[in-house]
């Protein structure tokens, strides 16, 4: 690997231990994957901000790095924490657990990490530009930055993201190289499906694509349009059920103005046709168990945008969440504040729904809290629920989720 003079000096310890240790990890990782050099990054996003992920090992690492004078070198934002910093008492989070999350927040603050506590940093303070190299983790944010914004980042691991932030570099391999961004697996939508493609089909299609694609690059042909939130939902599902870090949607995403451009002038290695039957089958799989009484409904995974908050408020206006049901809406503080100014928060709270801000239901032991059946409109949440959370899960549309919260019952879509 070719290293610059500055990089050699970092490895020699001239700029302190945190930079030396970090670059050493990144160079070794690059060597294992054939990187020819390091590349400077515009920003980082770190996932070890959550106590659920970082644990005591993370606290030990951050404490050590800080004692050695660690300070991030590029704009760096934090993924959701394991508690809602404002509402953790209300949400009955055990104080000793909250205290450890607050400790992580203090340590990251001292390193200069911007406390965004969101999985959608690209909507607020950390907005990548086309072609920029990044050092990001959080699979749903990585796939959005690569696919929708055309920035370049591998799916960094927890702590590797922080190493990247501390030296402002990542090893140049994988998705940093234009030749590694070509689509490989083609999904063609049946005209019948694309003419009747609903909002909740985006996460369902993402889930299917992830399952088939694994860690390769899918190309989706046949979608006419997609909103920001639909692309977000699609990518999050594909990144959870597979390890998709980049997708191309022909005519929609910036590196796929044509099918030929998406495939980089090559033939796809596989072709799949997706019709109504395939979508119905994947939606079957995304729900475990049968419908019936629901006790928790989770929306806002990835974190809800202001558009989604407006939609929730519209759907909940004048209604009341059923007794014994919790409706959780996850978002970040910026969207919360805007939604408050717009009056959406008042409408949502009057209906009896609960905001979870700066955190997320993926981080909560719902099973341990005694919940049995969950409804969600998120493909990512549906993927993790049976194992992580331990409840039965029904995947359905946003409208049906909010309806379920009001009636207390959910049916398989």
């Amino acid at each position: 690997m070719r290293l610059t003079d500055e990089e050699q000096r970092i490895l020699g310890g001239v700029f302190g231990e945190p930079q030396r240790i970090s670059l050493n990890v990144l160079v070794k990782l690059g060597q294992a994957y054939g990187a020819d050099s390091m590349v400077e990054i515009a920003s980082a996003h770190v996932v070890g901000s959550s106590y659920q992920i970082a644990g005591e090992a993370g606290i030990a690492i951050y404490t050590q790095l800080l004692e050695q004078g660690a300070r991030v070198k590029v704009r760096t934002t934090s993924d959701p924490g394991s508690i809602d910093f404002a509402r953790w008492r209300e949400l009955k989070t055990p104080p000793e657990y909250a205290e450890r999350q607050i400790k992580i927040a203090e340590l990251l603050d001292q390193m200069g990490v911007i406390p965004t506590w969101t999985c959608t940093p690209y909507t607020t303070f950390n907005v990548p530009r086309f072609g920029e190299d990044l050092g990001w983790s959080e699979s749903s944010a990585v796939v959005f930055a690569n696919s929708v914004l055309g920035a370049r980042t591998n799916r960094l691991a927890a702590y590797v993201d922080l190493c990247a932030a501390l030296v402002g570099r990542v090893p140049r391999f994988g998705l940093h190289l234009p030749e590694c961004r070509r689509g490989e697996v083609l999904f063609e939508l049946d005209p019948d499906l694309s003419a009747n493609f609903d909002d909740h089909h985006f996460p369902a299609l993402g889930y299917l694509v992830g399952q088939v694609t694994g860690d390769r690059i899918p190309v989706i042909l046949g979608l006419r349009q997609a909103t920001f939130d639909q692309l977000k939902a699609f990518g999050a599902a594909a990144a959870a059920s597979g390890s998709v870090a980049l997708y191309h949607m022909v005519g929609i995403t910036p590196e796929a103005r044509t099918l030929d451009e998406a495939l980089g002038g090559r033939q796809p290695s596989e072709r799949h046709v997706v019709g109504k039957r395939e979508i119905a089958r994947i939606m079957e799989q995304m729900s475990t168990g049968q419908g019936g009484a629901v006790d928790v409904v989770g929306v806002g995974c990835p974190h809800a945008s202001i558009d989604q908050m407006r939609r929730y408020a519209t759907l909940l206006r004048g209604k009341r969440v059923h007794t014994g049901v919790q409706l959780w809406i996850c978002t970040n503080t910026v969207v919360e504040e805007m939604a408050r100014r717009m009056g959406y928060v008042e409408t949502i709270e009057q209906a009896g729904a609960m905001l979870m801000v700066g955190t997320c239901h993926n981080n909560c032991p719902l099973g341990a809290w005694g919940f049995r059946r969950l409804a969600t409109d998120s493909g990512k949440f549906a993927y993790y629920t049976p194992t992580t959370v331990g409840t039965e899960c029904l995947f359905t549309s946003t409208e049906a989720c909010l309806e379920a919260a009001v009636t207390g019952r959910v049916e398989r879509p």
Partner: protein, 146 residues
């Protein structure tokens, strides 16, 4: 009983030397939600190794999968002395290699990682084999087999 010596050659992804027992699985593995970092036991109920301890074992599986939070759980296991002692894959994804490199960087624990062997390691290695593994040279040697 000892069989003829078995030596596999692959690619060393993370340095370190290991000698000990093998645990083999044919299924991909995700450490996030897959291992209890307090005990080293596999806790993923869908996995064929559920209930097996990976503590100080050479863990042989086809490839890793899962969340970018993987090193969180892995390093918690390292800190508790409950992590695998070595990893052998058909193909090691950067997430797995990162776990080993971070263990060395922050906890001074070497966990050799080897992949891309001349054969599928899960076809040749058996649970209970005693092996010697070098993460530097990428050599996996069966020392003894019952």
């Amino acid at each position: 009983m000892t069989s003829p010596r078995i030596i596999l050659r692959g690619r060393g992804c993370s340095p370190g030397e290991f000698e000990g027992e093998v645990v083999v699985s044919n299924q991909p593995f995700g450490f996030w939600q897959g291992i209890d970092p307090q005990t080293g036991l596999v806790i993923d109920r869908r996995h064929d190794l559920c209930g097996t301890s990976l503590r100080n074992k050479a863990f042989v599986f086809p490839f890793g999968r899962g969340s970018t939070g993987t090193p969180g759980i892995f390093l918690e296991a390292v800190r508790n002395g409950c992590a695998p002692g070595a990893i052998v894959n058909v193909k090691s994804e950067p997430m797995i290699v990162a776990c080993a490199l971070l263990a060395e960087a922050f906890f001074k624990v070497s966990i050799p990682v080897v992949d891309d062997l001349d054969v599928r390691p899960q076809d040749v290695l058996r649970t209970g084999d005693r092996v010697r593994i070098s993460g530097t040279t990428g050599v996996v040697e069966v020392v003894s087999r019952d």
